[in-house]
């Protein structure tokens, strides 16, 4: 496995690593809201500058964080083309059969592609600087108010946490099973889509079986260690948000507000 999976955590000492996961998660959602608002060139300039600044601050290997973007280039081309060719509104620059190229469509395509790219970079920075367990802890804390509405927030956070923790295990297992099947003659490299689909069962069946077995074992192990539902569990390291965390949150709120203002004031 030479390529790292998207969302890989890189231990480090940067400013972003040191921030509290709750602040990072909230800030992430604020920036995400900002990105969703973005629809003009100045807004995208702000968004890309913010994403670039975060990437630089995180001192993550930029190549590793941006690699998923590169792997999805076809997806980006596709969403751009779909929007550019099928957008209903605006004057058609060129049309043929069901296709209809329009300026508005191209703008829309660029919009969607840029937003997805920004979201991927932001989430890459978040997961790159925050250990999976910290993210779960933060989700747990942020979900707490939902308990007032009768939603089993802590349980949901626990489920998410377990799911996140299982990802690397299952990825590793997929790799092993893929290699085991190749070693006994399977061919997964085939370019034909039909062949590739036909080569799925040898991978999917063993992985599902093992995932169910692992889930069973984990449930038993948790009960054996006294787990009785997630309500009122305490944390080993409970600490309040520090000044740096509040500062980061304020910055993110500022960027988000700027996006809203730009959205209202600047037309594309």
């Amino acid at each position: 496995m030479s390529a790292l999976p998207a969302g890989q955590f890189f231990p480090g000492q940067s400013v972003l690593h040191a921030l509290d996961a709750r602040a990072k998660l909230l800030g992430f959602f604020l920036l995400l809201a900002g990105v969703v608002c973005a629809a003009s060139l100045p807004a995208y300039a702000v968004a890309f500058a913010a994403a670039g600044a975060l990437l630089a601050l995180s001192r993550l290997p930029a190549r590793a964080v941006l690699a998923p973007l590169k792997r999805l280039w076809l997806f980006f081309v596709l969403i751009f083309a779909m929007n550019a060719l099928f957008y209903e509104r605006g004057d058609a620059l060129w049309s043929w059969w069901i296709f209809r190229l329009s300026k508005a469509g191209m703008a829309q395509g660029a919009n969607v592609a840029a937003r997805v790219a920004l979201m991927m970079v932001l989430s890459g920075v978040l997961t790159g600087t925050t250990a999976p367990m910290e993210i779960t802890g933060a989700l747990n804390a942020l979900f707490k108010p939902l308990a007032l509405l009768g939603i089993p927030a802590q349980e949901i956070a626990m489920i998410l946490g377990i799911a996140i923790q299982f990802i690397p295990t299952l990825l590793e297992e997929t790799d092993t099973i893929r290699k085991a099947q190749i070693a006994r003659g399977a061919r997964f490299e085939s370019r034909s889509l039909w062949r590739r689909a036909a080569s799925l069962p040898p991978l999917v069946v063993p992985i599902f079986l093992s995932a169910f077995r692992r889930a069973d074992d984990l449930a038993t192990a948790m009960e054996a260690r006294g787990y009785r539902g997630a309500a009122n569990r305490t944390h080993r390291r409970a600490r309040p948000l520090r000044r740096a965390d509040w500062f980061a949150l304020a910055l993110c709120t500022g960027v988000c507000a700027l996006h809203v203002v730009l959205r209202v004031c600047v037309a594309f």
Partner: protein, 286 residues
């Protein structure tokens, strides 16, 4: 068919902050018909080594040569190579997925170009090699078998391709004593038919019984190499490398310390017994 590693190094996630060097300049030569045992502490590079041998990983530096040909050279037919080298992963029972045992064992022959009759013949032979009857086992679901049976079916799935070189990763981990004996008998039988075998194991007793030569890895380097007698001769050295010596050798060492000199070459139960017999049953009297 000699199999060679030339100064092979391998780094996982090379070029990222998570890079881990698993092998450092390992050279190795394997002769036809040999049983090579590989030992070493967890994380010493054993699994990486066998995946390189099977062509599943490409070395960061160095070459893997089969019959003098670099298996990772651009023009090399990797599928053909993989048919010559069989790799049985640890817990191979995890790779089973088909509806019936027969189908699962046939899976690896899909791209072999054999006729259905030839395939069936191969599958029958492979199942019989691991001690199953095609008639009785063939139609069962592989997922309904016991752990030990699943493992034998998985091994049959690799044997069906009739590899010249077979690599086993921890094949006896978690097997009961009978399963262990049965597996070692299988290794001897396959070896007698001319298959070269690589056995990765922590079980020094099994390796002392089966392997012609042992390789001890430590931190991605070959730390010790030689026959079981040579490798287990220095009990302290083996302990420093975090590998066990075989139980008979450990017993011999204890006896020697307590005044009954047992030569270091007695690494199997047979060897130890014959030494003791010679000493204590001289003239046939117990």
């Amino acid at each position: 068919m000699p199999f060679c590693l030339e100064e092979v190094s391998f780094t996982y996630a090379a070029g990222t902050p998570l890079a881990v060097q698993a092998l450092r300049g390992v050279s190795l030569r394997m002769e036809a018909g040999e049983v090579l045992g590989v030992m070493g502490h967890t994380g010493c590079g054993k699994s990486t080594l066998i995946q390189l041998l099977a062509g599943l990983l490409v070395p960061t530096h160095g070459r893997v040569l089969l019959d003098g040909q670099d298996i990772n050279a651009p023009g090399c037919d990797r599928a053909a190579l993989r048919a010559r080298v069989g790799l049985v992963f640890q817990y191979p029972e995890c790779q089973l997925f088909e509806i019936t045992v027969a189908k699962d064992v046939t899976f690896g022959l899909k791209h072999s170009g054999l006729s259905p009759a030839q395939k069936e013949e191969r599958v029958r032979a492979a199942l019989e090699t691991v001690g199953f009857s095609y008639e009785r086992m063939g139609a069962q679901s592989p997922l309904a078998l016991s752990g030990g049976e699943k493992r034998r079916v998985a091994i049959a799935g690799v044997l069906a391709a009739r590899p010249e070189i077979l690599i086993f990763d921890e094949p006896i981990a978690g097997l009961d004593p009978m399963g262990r004996e049965r597996f070692l008998a299988l290794v001897r039988r396959l070896n007698a038919q001319g298959t070269s075998i690589v056995l990765v194991s922590h079980n020094a007793d099994a390796l002392a019984q089966c392997a012609d030569r042992l390789l001890v890895l430590k931190d991605g380097c070959v730390a010790l190499e030689g026959t079981a007698e040579q490798v287990f001769a220095d009990v302290e050295a083996a302990r420093r490398l975090q590998v066990d010596v075989s139980t008979p050798r450990a017993l011999g060492q204890m006896l020697t310390q307590r005044g009954v000199a047992v030569p270091a070459g007695a690494v199997t139960y047979e060897g130890l017994l014959s030494v003791l017999k010679e000493r204590f049953c001289a003239g046939g009297n117990p």
